[in-house]
């Protein structure tokens, strides 16, 4: 558990990282470095997006699965590492 904390701290301290959230398969945040309202907002929106992305991949090839999702926008970026049970969401600020 301490390792998890350490890794989170390390990622958080990387240049350009705004925040990290971990949500479970239902979109409920388990651990977060952001404030509550942002966490809930990101968790809800990203969960829906990942579900859609995953089903897109699976529809094209049912034996395939989503491994990584990355969104680049003008002002920021979001990286999502999904798994069967959880997603790791990292919110970036590439202008840094």
């Amino acid at each position: 558990m301490a390792e998890v904390e350490e890794t989170l701290k390390r990622i958080q301290s990387q240049k350009g990282v705004q925040g990290i959230t971990i949500v479970n398969a239902e979109g409920i945040p388990i651990k977060t470095t952001l404030d509550n309202s942002s966490t809930v907002q990101y968790a809800g929106l990203i969960h829906q997006l990942v579900m859609k992305a995953r089903s897109t991949v699976r529809d094209i090839d049912p034996q395939n699965d989503l491994t990584f999702l990355r969104i680049r926008s003008k002002k920021s970026g979001i990286m999502i590492a999904p798994d069967k049970d959880y997603f790791l969401i990292v919110i970036q600020n590439p202008s840094d």
């Binding site: 479970n24 239902e26 968790a43 699976r58 003008k74 590492a81 798994d83 202008s95």
Partner: protein, 496 residues
């Protein structure tokens, strides 16, 4: 509602095992048809009424779908494809059971219910989480370390969009902060000026330090931007607080002009500072002495100037000649005028008739010497505006500072309703003075706590493009038209 997910689940099975598809209604049938356009098989379908219990997890194993007896959050978003091909976990299933009752009551758009701390800790210690986190964090760390911007546009086409959307911080960045424990702390910065000869030198004057009555009331410090040294190059002090000075003229024939709130304007020769060379009483309409709070000389002019007064009016005046003294009054501000700046950016078009004024009434107003009514009023501030200054190089750009610690840059060619860039200084200080460097690339500002801050301004903002002058002509025409329209409307309302 849950049928969509059931359909999805069924369709997956179909493609894998080729079982007969069952549809709930025509809409579902159509979906199935569209899937076939991708070239997948379609079997004979019987339309049968079937109720699929909504499932959250469907396993890939060869067993039939294990319907979990939980109504999960899928019901919250019926229009989405919620099915996840995941192993049904015993623990999350328990949790979902607990949540089920709550979720059934919620509306569709409700955010997912939170887990208790205990539940979260439980999850965080589980093996599945640790494996997930190990892999996920590794990938994320690799991705973070790659700082390649695949979207970078070398052609610069993107820049025009970006300008409007960039964060203010990227437009102006703090370069240096100058402050001296002994001489500047707890004094308000009353005036700033950049050296014309040595662009890295900046002089700042300060008023008295109330906490230290035995120290001199007036201090002026010369700061150097070139070196990392944090102490001033030179320190000057005098008995009276220094408010404002201005040197006008050329190298050979120059004068120091000072004005005070008793309406007296004195010009001094730098060789003899014991007595003014000449004095002028500034009175308006032969009676009212003008309580001058600010003064500005247009570029290259040593005779005509503008002054702002405590009563909120701005006056034009001249020093010499038959009409020496106050010429015109410009009324518009509702509070004392704190700062004045005459247009100075030379270029293809002469805008030297323009000047701007800052006031306690929270506004900055744009004037032309050709008209006694303001051309435009900039009303974005929520505090006393303490100083304003045109950029020495960009014709449509000016900076202003206010009591809430905000430094705003306005570009008339971009937008007259909001500043093009804005930055708030840390700490709850008011910014008292603002001065562009002669290059127009840096801005110095002084605060009420004795700090002088120098900001670098981003190139896209402070470097004028060749068409800025002609664009400003158009902008001014628009401003004039709007002002005339506004006046007409106001006149009509008065009549009606």
């Amino acid at each position: 509602m849950g049928d969509r997910s059931g359909l999805q689940a069924a369709s997956q099975l179909f493609w894998k095992q080729g079982c007969t598809m069952m549809f709930k209604d025509v809409a579902d049938f159509c979906i199935c048809v569209s899937m076939t356009r991708r070239g997948l098989r379609l079997g004979m379908a019987k339309v049968t009424q079937v109720d699929f219990p909504p499932k959250e997890m469907v396993s890939y194993s060869k067993e039939t779908q294990t319907p979990t007896d939980t109504q999960t959050h899928t019901q919250a978003r019926p229009e989405e494809e919620e099915d996840e091909e995941e192993l049904a976990e015993a623990k999350p299933a328990e949790d979902s059971q607990e949540k089920k009752a709550d979720q059934e009551e919620k509306q569709e758009e409700a955010p997912p219910k939170e887990l208790t701390e205990e539940e979260k800790m439980h999850l965080l210690h589980s093996d599945e989480f640790l494996t997930f986190f190990d892999r996920g964090s590794r990938i994320v760390e690799r991705a973070l370390s790659e700082r390649v911007d695949v979207c970078f546009d070398y052609s610069g086409r993107d820049l025009e969009d970006k300008e409007g959307e960039m964060q203010a911080g990227a437009k102006m960045s703090l370069n240096r902060t100058f402050s001296d424990e002994r001489w500047s702390k707890n004094r308000v910065v009353t005036c700033l000026d950049w050296s014309p000869q040595y662009p890295e030198l900046l002089v700042a004057s300060y008023n008295n330090n109330e906490d230290v009555p035995h120290e001199p009331d007036g201090v002026a410090l010369v700061w150097n931007m070139k070196y990392k040294k944090t102490t001033p190059e030179y320190t000057f002090h005098c008995q009276h607080p220094v408010y404002c000075v201005n040197v006008v003229g050329t190298q050979n024939a120059h004068n120091l002009i000072s004005i005070s709130t008793d309406g007296k304007m004195c010009s001094w020769s730098l060789d003899m500072l014991s007595q003014p060379q000449d004095c002028l009483e500034l009175v308006f309409k032969q009676s009212k002495a003008v309580a001058v709070t600010s003064m500005a000389f247009p570029l290259g002019d040593v005779n005509n100037f503008v002054v702002g007064s405590e009563d909120g009016s701005v006056y034009t005046a001249c020093r010499h000649g038959s009409k020496a003294g106050i010429s015109d009054v410009f009324e518009g501000h509702h509070g004392p005028v704190t700062g004045l700046s005459c247009h100075s950016a030379g270029g293809p078009v002469d805008f030297s008739h323009l000047f701007i004024s800052a006031s306690f009434d929270w506004t900055v107003k744009l004037w032309t010497t050709k008209s006694t009514r303001p051309l435009y009023s900039f009303e974005d501030s929520c505090d006393y505006v303490y100083d304003v200054m045109w950029s020495p190089t960009h014709p449509a750009l000016f900076a202003c500072v206010d009591g809430s610690g905000r430094l705003d840059l306005w570009n008339l060619n971009n937008d007259t309703e909001v500043p093009s860039a804005s930055v708030v200084v840390d700490g709850s200080t008011a910014l008292n003075r603002v001065r562009w460097s002669h290059s127009g690339r840096e801005i110095a500002t002084g605060d009420s706590d004795g700090q002088v801050l120098v900001y670098d301004v981003g190139e896209p903002i402070c470097v004028p493009k060749p068409d800025e002058w002609s664009r400003l002509v158009h902008t001014l025409m628009e401003i004039n038209e709007n002002r005339d329209e506004g006046d007409e409307l106001a006149a009509q309302r008065l009549v009606a």
